[in-house]
Symmetry: C2
Subunit: 495 residues, 2 copies
């Protein structure tokens, strides 16, 4: 099909021999050799559920192409969410040198795609809603000439389909934008596909968060888990409890929330010790196991309280007491809640619809934990293998890619309780200087695992698609780091 060659050398450069002979990390040693070359799926990422790409190709011209609402669509010109997405994806499709070889002088031939019609099929497009866990994100895309059609029940699927359409466009040997005749039917494997960023350990400028939200959308993530505050700082302004935020300076939270409505993302903020609800359109709060106070063993008030409660010196009991109280309060608000796994481990009483976030341990222990949680009937999501703050030398995206949230011993009913996962980038060693290249393309590996079919596990094919996908992110201005020795048609221009 298309000639989107990944252009990567996978010869393991012994080169000067200067790197490979040094003691290797385990990760590095276990990596199989990858064979670089074009994938039959071009640069699609994450891979759609059903794809058929034919050999027939069409051209696209920036002067003769538009993205429009289909006549039958339930979303029209008043749906700003879609209209701004049309503008954005037009720009993405025609990114790169403006002077395409196929210029204005050349008339549109019979083999040209001149229009992408977007057709929202459900009577309620969801254009004015926030997405929820049960939002329909599916879409169908048919690329033919002169008109390509993108059908989706709701705007959420249409946003995903626009990204997919943009990924089908490549440059032929003369630099002309080209797309093959294609039929795609697509929907996510998991409903909860998240990225956690941590603005408590380091300041993250709004523009960096926004750029990463854009990149999340390019990878079909739908949840932004914002670890706003922690012991280190409290950069959050609560309208309900303004006294919580006396030290708050960063008032950009709302701007970011506003932005989110224009992407298929939800937001799950996390706070410690304090709770608030007003920024949470979807899940209610994500209760985090609170840290033991640093001086808890010497603090006389805490000692006295523990004595009164009959906890002895068992601080686990103290922590469970705190969480239990917090969850009781949350329950009265009619909001759902997410918790980190220790709350479950410590036997705190939970509502049946509690969502439990697994983050601890190696493969064996997180798989056991997922089995235990689902066996007890709770819903769960996985992060243990996706702590992207944990960096290692080499192609660590492969281990990230291979982890699967449903790989544990359990019944089909248990597997259905797994709603997805989150890539977590904790902030101890991360700020605006290194956040974006550290997150991408490593988080892309999580994105495909959570979106694509369970059977999509060919790391070789993934490498070839991801290498080109990462160059696409770079072209769109995102400093996504390289997978391995390679070059992009248009390299990153920043420093």
């Amino acid at each position: 099909m298309c000639n989107c060659v990944s252009r990567l050398s996978t010869h393991r450069a012994v080169g000067a021999g200067k790197r490979e002979d040094q003691t290797q990390t385990d990760t590095q040693q276990k990596e199989p050799e990858l064979v670089a070359g074009p994938s039959q799926y071009g640069s699609l990422w994450p891979l759609p559920q059903k794809v058929h790409i034919s050999d027939v190709s069409f051209k696209l011209s920036s002067s003769n192409f538009q993205i429009t609402d289909a006549k039958e669509s339930s979303a029209g010109p008043s749906c700003n969410l879609l209209q701004s997405a049309y503008r954005r994806y037009y720009e993405y499709v025609f990114v790169g040198p403006k002077n395409q070889k196929r210029g204005r002088d050349q008339p549109a031939g019979p083999s040209e795609v001149t229009e992408l019609q977007v057709w929202i099929t459900s009577p309620d497009s969801d254009c004015d809603s926030f997405p929820t866990e049960s939002s329909d994100e599916s879409y169908e895309l048919s690329v033919d000439q002169p008109v390509a059609v993108l059908k989706a029940p709701k705007v959420w699927g249409a946003l995903h389909g626009l990204e997919t359409f943009s990924q089908l466009v490549y440059e032929d040997e003369f630099g002309a934008k080209t797309i093959n005749s294609t039929v795609i039917s697509d929907f996510p494997r998991f409903a909860h596909r998240g990225v956690l960023l941590d603005s408590s350990r380091h300041f993250i400028p709004v523009k960096v968060i926004l750029a990463n939200l854009e990149t999340m959308a390019m990878n079909k993530f739908n949840i932004f888990h914002w670890h706003i505050v922690d012991d280190s700082s409290f950069p959050y302004l609560s309208q309900t409890f303004p006294q919580l935020s006396e030290k708050v300076r960063n008032r950009d939270g709302y701007r970011i929330r506003y932005f989110l409505r224009y992407r298929p993302n939800s937001i799950v903020p996390t706070e410690h010790r304090f709770t608030s609800f007003e920024t949470v359109p979807r899940f209610g709060i994500h209760v985090t196991f609170p840290p033991p106070p640093p001086n808890r063993k010497s603090n006389p008030d805490i000692q006295k309280f523990m004595e009164q409660q009959g906890f002895g010196q068992d601080f686990t009991k103290l922590e469970s007491f705190y969480i239990q109280r917090l969850l009781d309060i949350v329950t009265t608000t009619q909001k759902g809640y997410m918790i980190w796994q220790e709350v479950f481990d410590n036997g705190v009483k939970l509502k049946p619809d509690t969502l439990i976030h697994v983050w601890k341990g190696n493969q064996q222990s997180y798989q056991r934990e997922m089995a235990n949680i689902t066996s007890a009937g709770y819903r769960t999501l996985l992060s243990s293998p996706w702590y992207l703050n944990r960096i290692a030398y080499g192609q660590d995206w492969q281990a990230i890619y291979k982890a699967d949230p449903q790989d544990f011993k359990g019944t089909d009913d248990q597997k259905k309780l797994v709603i997805g996962g989150e890539a977590c980038l904790w902030g101890e060693f991360v700020d605006a200087t290194n956040l974006t290249p550290r997150l991408w393309p490593r988080a892309c590996a999580v994105a495909e695992r959570l979106w694509s079919a369970k059977e999509v596990t060919d790391t070789n094919d993934a490498f070839n698609r991801l290498a080109v996908h990462r160059c696409r992110l770079v072209e769109r201005g995102i400093p996504a780091q390289p997978l391995y020795t390679s070059y992009c048609p248009r390299e990153y221009k920043g420093i």
Copy 2:
């Protein structure tokens, strides 16, 4: 002394507990707890050999401060190298918000530094030379009011002293630029203090190389070891052997060399298989152990040649043959040479003044190698612990900082044969998207080890100085990544 608080929390955020409970790397576990606070040496990095900072402080005003040639100086207005450095360091000193609290209306008080006089004391300032291995890089700096004096035998020391002066300036609680009465006498512990960058595995834009050369100068590095070409690509244009470079597209080599003369850096390009000399003002070529051809075991020409030479199947002999021939050729050019350690290990015949670059193995084995090399009478430099492409989670700068090139069993005469070391950032996983934050501030740890006295080993004091030094790099536009949870007065503004 100054109130350059590092403003770092070193409380090991168990926070959500979400990171620290996961299996730690060895590196991370061995790190001692650091106590954050101001260093008595402010933010000086690398620490000068002799420093006395008094409690008496002076102000500096952007409208009433200049850097000038001392009347007695052997370098005058025609020395562009210094004049451009004066402009650069004036900017660095007054980086940040322009509206200082101490404004123009306020007359210069008695406690104000209004001038830094730069006095080159040797009759030949070296202004029009390239630096060499034996260049004098020493300087003496005396900060008093109203005039501070920087004395250096050569321009190289003056460039270092300007950087040191800029590091002494801090902001008082009102944001006014302040400097304490200070006496510094400084010189490098090692003559060869290098950074290796690799433009063969990924394209590195010229502006990224230039920004990193600037950053090298801010850390008193003096050697840029440019690994220009390798198996992966040959982005180098040889004037002597233009046919070498048929595929060359990057012609920016000369621009970069030109730049180098304006910093106290030398350049050591590395090439594989091919040699050229014209870009090497100082050391001649840095011969790298050539990679065995990938198909060497099946290549009939190579098999035939090995048979003719009586090598059997011993490819080490083939490689040594190649290197021996190469070194024989180089010897006729009256240039010195640097080699990677295998050439020595494989018993190739070497000239007595050969410089041997140690890069292999763990601490035990590289220390043994240094002992063997110096015992054989050769000069050597170290890179094994400074392969900065090898990333690990946590504060890995500490291990980088602790390594010392003279820590091996040997006589004083042997130790004198150690001329320094190089931080190496090989390019398999590095391009413009992530090069700079991956290199800085980790390479700073190497810089201090190679410049400062052997006894400067207090990681706690180093942490406090380096945290502020890192914020200074950020203020100067360099995306140096954070050491740990922290904030800078002026955070990085890019994405």
